[in-house]
Amino acid sequence: MNAESKLSMLAPAFDVERVRRDFPILSQSVHGKKLVFLDSAASAQKPRAVIDAMTHAMETQYANVHRGLHWMSERTSDAYEGVRDKVAGLLNAPSREEIVFTGSSTGAINLVAHSYGRGILKPGQAVVVSEMEHHANIVPWQMLRDAHGIELRVLPITEAGELEMAALPGLLADGRVGLVAVTHMSNVLGTYNPVSRIAQLAHEAGALLLVDGSQAVVHRAVDVQALGADFYVFTGHKLYGPTGIGVLWARMALLDAMPPFMGGGDMISSVSFERSSWAKPPSKFEAGTPAILEAIGLGAAIDYVQAIGMDAISAHEAELTDHALSRLSAIEGLQVIGRAQDRGGVVSFTLEGAHAHDVATLLDRNGIAVRAGQHCAEPLIRRLGLTSTTRASFGIYTTREEIDFLADTLVRVKGFFQ
């Protein structure tokens, strides 16, 4: 046996049916129909490995972390801290100490907005966000603007649903921008943004770059060093992990300089009534008992996707997205929203004569779960001249047959409302 065939035995081709067997929920029925789950961009389903890791911890090895001088606490601390290594590996972060656990992406962005925003940015400086941001990457900056005298600037999008990169130098030109905060991949348009180029432009203007990786980290390998980002955030539950656990990665020099966000246990090195001193990062930003079980679940999710391979996952999803775009575009009266060159497994659309909520209700009656509405991106939906869209989003377990069923059912939905 030559080396190549040995390798192909070790790394079998992506087998979606095998993947599906790892997700217990996929055998469920909805309204008596087979579940077709096309809402992974809102929250992904969980593989057996994640469910078992969390259950196993609760059944066999659980105590609070970083506190007890007993076996259970030490083992649980090992498991919790082990996940920090896994996350550092997933993002290719230079150091495990640069990984801060939060409750969600929203929690991570709020941490940066409070700590970096109020602690380091000066009134009169500006933050740039894009027109395609999720509310989680708009509202914290608005709150910072109102509380701290920061100007909020908006990078527009093109008709195709890509960032208007030509407008960025102008927004950065006066040198007052301290931070650019953009999504790596739009949760509505599917657009992947040219983050490395944005990093370069931001840095040339003396600004830092925060990247919201909530969608992107699920679909492609992410290398924060290659991207040139300064902050990168994502959430566990979209990456086949549990809810309640998110991640902030930031350069150590930033984490060192930033004041704590929340105060409490675990984030101090010593406390007296006169003063307290802070622990080093990442502990400085992890006040209180953390989401221990959720972190363990996230660790299992990272192991799971890495065993399959991010490249295999992105190839599978790229094929699904191409198939969906060609099937859906062929439906008369259906308009796909967003025509970005570089895109991930999220397809939003409108259907002539049928409101997104009515579409979603009828799809649901056929077992198909999609999202309908504004997708927590109201400014984007308004910019597009819409009030709502229907969104189908794909995961590791999505099949071509499911997309065909979506397309066939949409044709019937259209007939229903005609």
């Binding site: 409101h355 909520h357 009515d358 009828l362 509405g373 109201e378 819409l386 009030t387 229903f416 005609q418």
Partner: protein, 153 residues
């Protein structure tokens, strides 16, 4: 097989009168002049319905119309609402709105009023918890308009 047949179990929600009123609302136009108006908004879906009312000298609704964007359920509900509000006092409309809210949530409501019977085609929404707010959106706008003057709410 026609489109309608294949969604048989959704017909409790999308009865013929709902589909018809959603497609061709009778009262979807700008009422001008008017005595009161208010906007109802559903932030999750972005739907907006503005209700405008005219009153008689003794404080009954003389005319009602609406404008806006919404799904089949919210438009049909607004249209059926505009059908039944004429000639009603504020107190009667508050009672009717409360009864309609119960109808939408539970599928039934104890109010002996012919107007409520005209709204019963919307009772199927009770089987779709996420759609109840679509049916009640225009009623919330109506209540706000009853409380507001011509400046609106």
């Amino acid at each position: 097989m026609s489109g309608a047949d294949t969604f048989q179990d959704a017909r409790s929600l999308y009865q013929d009168i709902i589909l018809d009123r959603g497609r061709n609302p009778r009262h979807m136009h700008r009422l001008d002049p008017f005595d009161a108006r208010a906007q109802g908004e559903n932030p999750m879906c972005g739907d907006q319905i503005e209700v405008r009312l005219g009153f008689t000298s003794d404080g009954r609704v003389a005319d009602a119309a609406f404008e806006g964007r919404g799904c089949a359920i919210s438009l049909a509900s607004a249209d059926l609402m505009a059908d039944v509000v004429r000639g009603r006092t504020r107190a009667e409309l508050h009672a009717l709105a409360a009864a309609f809210g119960t109808l939408a949530r539970t599928g039934d409501a104890p109010l002996a009023d012919a107007a409520l019977d005209a709204l019963r085609p919307l009772s199927g929404v009770s089987e779709y918890p996420s759609r109840v707010k679509c049916a009640t959106l225009p009623w919330n706008a109506l209540l706000a308009a009853l409380d507001a003057g011509p400046g609106g709410a």
